[in-house]
Amino acid sequence: MVTSTSRRHEGVPVTQTAVPPAAAVSAGPTPRPARRRSWSGWGFVGPFMAVFALVFLAPIAYSIYLSVFRTQLIGGTTFVGFENYARAFGDAQLWAALGRVSLFLLVQVPVMLGIALLVALALDSGRLFGRDFFRISIFLPYAVPAVVATLMWGFMYGTRFGLVGNINDALGVALPNPLAPDLVLAAIGNIVTWEFVGYNMLIFYSALRTIPTSLYEAAQIDGAGQWRVIRAIKLPAIRGALVIATIFSIIGSFQLFNEPSILQALAPNAITTYFTPNLYAYSLSFSGQQYNYSATVAIIMGLLTMVIAYVVQLRGMRKEA
């Protein structure tokens, strides 16, 4: 699904399914076979699978095919086996990009999910004035396209006429430029956090709402306090949602593309063409015409993401047993 790369939440749909398997298999959307086995189910599932084969399975197969060939202006296309993979292994730019998204992942994801979880718990506690207003307002940025969010924050980051510039003028200070090379990753992290705090909050909040009230009543009879209820009931009950959100966010980080690519116009010196692996793969293809190597980079990132998502899922779900 090409769509998925463009934005983290679009990555979300893709991988949401990648995670639910655990939830789906254990809880099971189908508690029992609805009827005896027959082919009629295919009439419903068939259309989805036909398009799925065209836009998912065929490109994956083609990608693998591309990655084991080399195309040259002179000499045409030759089979090279794992040569492209060997090149990737020693590619300093790819490693630098990978390091950058890993750092991003380690800092941005916990911050974003932490805030989302706290807000969800606050909403669920029922102790807020104006709960519905909070919920819908904090969710709102999710409806803003990544392009608009990035342009907007890009303007605000401006030291000349943006908010940062305004503050500098008003207070007579010189705040660091968010678009300078050493800060630009944090600036991107802020944009992504802004876009997806509300979305994750809503996922957590929906999960919290499905907890049966009887559990709270039992806890109350046992004399448990708020924090104990959160630790012993709420957090375990929404572990599935937490794991899902973590995996989406990991995949979103590895696929980081829109925000850096749009900010590039404002900060060309800070954001290189290989700033993230995805940007690198894009540049290789569309500026460099290196389709084979680009497919290789994409496959490596795909495998890496799958492995990490799988490990997180295993670790996250293990305690449930």
Partner: protein, 305 residues
């Protein structure tokens, strides 16, 4: 009071408040917690306020006035007028393109997800496990790995630079499929299906007349999420489209923004900002108006353990 413990969570009488200390409905309000959560609220809304305020400014004011307050002029309407007419009204064209991609892409994606999710939830058929494994396995592959080969494939089929190159990949929403699957499993009692079949209704008719109404909240939820995905899509059109006449809003706005940086390009930041406002308004409105539906759909479908 003990008998009230079986009362469903939402039907709380005033006398229940004290009895159910942690239940989410009517505990004591906390000003401190409200203020703390308010910080996140301000963080979420402030940039949008900035956007709205600055959509009222001329380009000159944009540079000279304080970002969070209005400038000397109130140019919102002239900005909107200019946005809609600039470059022979290309913005309107982009808006129409976006609508086209959303109607066909998100609409199609929802239709496929509803059919597929229902099929997976309510039928047992040969290859069902295979379908599950294939979808799960393939969606774990990030879009990156698919973008380039999809572009090359579509370009060989002559589809790039046409609306189809954006619409066709938008048709698959595995998240939508999963959501409908879990939703249909819950919302449609199997007994009801058996009864309809016993009465001699065919599968298509059973689905259309009995199941579709029951699936409505799930359908709204899936539709909204696929709509956002298509409306906000940037990467896919960026790869597939060269001709600005086929751009969606996201790509068009970015092109306007980048225009200032090109040699001889006219800086039109006021139009970028006003265009951004016009881009987000339809989605915000859709979310606000349909929130009752999509929230119940989300709660019932996506995250339940």
């Amino acid at each position: 009071m003990t008998t009230t413990t079986v009362t469903p969570r939402r039907s709380t009488g005033p006398r229940l408040r004290r009895a159910r200390g942690f239940s989410a409905d009517r505990p004591r309000r906390s000003p401190l917690l409200t203020v703390l959560t308010g910080i996140v609220l301000v963080y979420s809304l402030l940039p949008l306020a900035w956007l709205l305020v600055n959509a009222t400014k001329t380009q000159a004011d944009l540079f000279s006035s304080f970002g969070l307050w209005f400038g000397d002029s109130f140019a919102l309407f002239s900005n909107i007028g200019q946005t809609l007419t600039y470059d022979d009204g290309i913005f309107v064209r982009w808006f129409a393109n976006t609508l086209l991609y959303v109607v066909l892409g998100a609409g199609g994606a929802t239709a496929l997800a509803v059919l597929g999710g229902y099929g997976l939830a309510k039928f047992d058929f040969p290859g069902k496990k295979g379908v599950f494994a294939t979808v799960i396995g393939a969606v774990a592959v990030p879009g990156t790995a698919l973008a380039v080969p999809t572009f090359l494939m579509f370009s060989q089929m002559g589809l790039t630079n046409t609306p189809w190159s954006v619409i066709i990949p938008s048709l698959i929403s595995p998240f939508g499929l999963y959501l409908m699957w879990t939703f249909a499993a819950e919302a449609i009692p199997t007994e009801l299906l058996e009864a309809a079949r016993m009465d001699g209704a065919g599968e298509a008719r059973t689905f259309a007349q009995i199941c579709l109404p029951l699936l409505a909240p799930g359908i709204v939820t899936v539709l909204l999420f696929t709509m956002v995905a298509t409306w906000n899509n940037y990467f896919l059109p960026l790869i597939m489209l060269k001709d600005p006449d086929w751009y969606p809003l996201t790509l068009g706005l970015n092109a306007w923004n980048a225009q200032a940086a090109t040699a001889g390009g006219e800086a039109i930041f006021n139009l970028v900002i006003t265009g951004a406002v016009l881009t987000i308004v339809p989605l915000v409105v859709a979310f606000l108006f349909l929130q009752r539906y999509w929230q119940s759909g989300l709660a019932a479908g996506s995250v339940k353990e």
